[in-house]
């Protein structure tokens, strides 16, 4: 009669079963397709690393990868520089002023990316808002051709990525205990020193998480570079879409995707590490 094995019910075992369905779904429709992409990069059109030789053999594809990383880097740095003071201000104000400021961030985050990119096209085009303003203000004589161009891509991408930098930063800054700053000031630090020695180091996890997030998302960004960048500022996702959807070169598209996947995954791992050390969950993005 003695129950020899732990045959009984456990509170946790019940919950474990719940994982089966979502994991099957994610496995079948996420992990499996991605595995196939990697596989295909070595087998299409023939077995071998020919696709990778094309990617890394110099020429246009390597340049696209370089532009992708460079753009992601520039966008990340710009976002960090812009978002830090903004997050600092938002984290210090209270009540309805804070709600108002957050409303701007959230409305921006929620607006369709396609629509926002469209709006930037309107702004940057030859007869667009910016050129009309520049001509009217006598800064330039003739409208400048911003499209397609690097400036437009950067402005558009920073605009879309900024909330993803702001939110993790804010989450971290809000948890910083203000009495620590007061303590530093009591001990003789002036506000600048207190900021530099206490607040800034404590806010670094937010900066780290936001930067990883923005860099990661920028690497795979499609809409803005496709609309505003043109062939001279082509990024990886645009090239992959073109190769697969229009030129039907799936082998090359798969190889490019695998490289992009590797890049993004490594940043993702850094991001997870940062989030873990910051003790928080995932950034509550869009």
């Amino acid at each position: 009669m003695a129950s020899d094995k732990s045959t009984g019910w456990t509170a946790t075992a019940f919950y474990r079963w719940l994982l089966v369905a979502p994991l099957a779904f994610v496995g079948l429709f996420f992990l499996w397709p991605i595995l196939n992409v990697i596989l295909r990069s070595f087998t299409d059109p023939s077995l071998g690393v020919a696709n990778y030789e094309r990617v890394f053999g110099g020429g246009p594809y390597l340049k696209v990868l370089w532009i992708t990383v460079e753009t992601a880097g520039i966008v990340t740095i710009l976002c960090a520089l812009i978002a830090y003071p903004v997050a600092y201000v938002i984290s210090r104000v209270r009540g309805s002023m804070m709600s108002l400021m957050m409303a701007f961030v959230v409305v921006s985050l929620w607006t369709s990316v396609v629509i926002r990119s469209y709006a930037w096209m309107v702004v940057f085009q030859r007869k667009g808002v910016l050129n009309q303003f520049l001509v009217a203000a006598d800064i330039v004589e003739r409208p400048i051709s911003f499209l397609p161009g690097t400036l437009a891509v950067n402005v558009g991408m920073v605009h879309i990525m900024l909330p993803f930098m702001l939110l993790p930063m804010l989450a971290t800054m809000r948890t910083i205990d203000r009495t620590l700053i007061s303590a530093a000031e009591v001990m003789g630090a002036n506000p600048f020193v207190a900021f530099r020695k206490v607040f800034f180091p404590l806010s670094l996890p937010g900066l780290g998480a936001g930067s990883a997030l923005v860099f990661m998302m920028s690497l795979g960004f499609f809409i803005t570079p496709a609309l505003l960048g043109g062939p001279r500022h082509m990024m990886a996702a645009v090239l992959i879409e073109q190769q697969a959807n229009r030129l039907l070169d799936w082998g090359l598209a798969s190889a490019l995707s695998t490289v992009l996947l590797l890049l993004t995954t490594s940043i993702y791992l850094v991001y997870l590490r940062v989030m873990k050390s910051a003790g928080g969950g995932f950034a509550h993005g869009r």
């Binding site: 509170a11 946790t12 019940f14 919950y15 474990r16 719940l18 994982l19 369905a21 979502p22 779904f25 994610v26 429709f29 996420f30 992990l31 499996w32 991605i34 196939n36 295909r40 903004v86 104000v93 209270r94 009540g95 002023m97 701007f104 409305v107 921006s108 929620w110 607006t111 369709s112 396609v114 629509i115 469209y118 709006a119 096209m121 309107v122 007869k127 808002v129 909330p163 002036n190 506000p191 600048f192 990661m216 690497l219 795979g220 499609f222 996702a237 992959i240 879409e241 697969a244 799936w250 598209a253 995707s257 996947l261 993004t264 993702y268 991001y271 997870l272 995932f282 509550h284 869009r286």
Partner: protein, 278 residues
Amino acid sequence: MAAESTAKLPPAFRAGWVIICCFTALILVYLVLPQFIVLPLSFSDRSFLSFPPSGWSTQWYEKLVANPSWFQAMINSLAIGIPTALLSMVFGTMAALAVARGGFKQAGVISAIVVAPMMLPHVILAIGLYPLMLQLNLLGSYAAATIGHTVIGVPLVFITVTAALARHDFTLELAAMTLGARPWRTFRSVTYPTIRIGIIIGGILAFATSIDELMLALFLTGAGTRTLPRLIWEQMNDYLTPTIAAVATLVFLFTLILLVIVALIQSRSTRLEGWNHD
């Protein structure tokens, strides 16, 4: 700006504070500027995009209504977005419960895998799903896009529900069980009411993401199932008419309504139960 202790600070610091406040105001305007450029444009009386418009008309909205493909695209977006939200809510909630309550040693790894689709470039998922959907003979169907969007919608629900679960101790559920509630009843009477807000907000996020998603739609939808973003995209590559501005304005209003709903749900839950969802 109502920061609490700026008055007694040295002048240099106060000046710095004023400067970054102005900078902040500027950036906040930059964040919503494009949205508000599109709005007047949609009422322009010209056929090309000049700003500000020289005269006003509703002709672009009339053109929009007259063209059935826009209406069809909207229906398609809803036909994909709503099932996506529901499926994401089911899978996301299940995964969040399992990870939060299952006591897995590898909980971190599982979370990372569940959230990964949100982080990795959609283009990779798109070219991965395309041949699979082709094999399953689903390409161009509502199901294909719904599945693709659910993959990126699950993480959103997972995150919001995980956050909601973290606010409540596992002992609530254990208590219900000692009082005689079976697992399903425990979920219905105790777990669900405490995480409901998280599930709903996650679902709305998944819906909004699906409504806005372009890359998967480009690969997985067909002529009959193409979504609104895809139609806008195709139109945009051809010519920049104010019709798109009219669509954009409507979509923008729609997301604003969603946003207000979310804000109302959040403030209501905060007020009624004293919980804070942010």
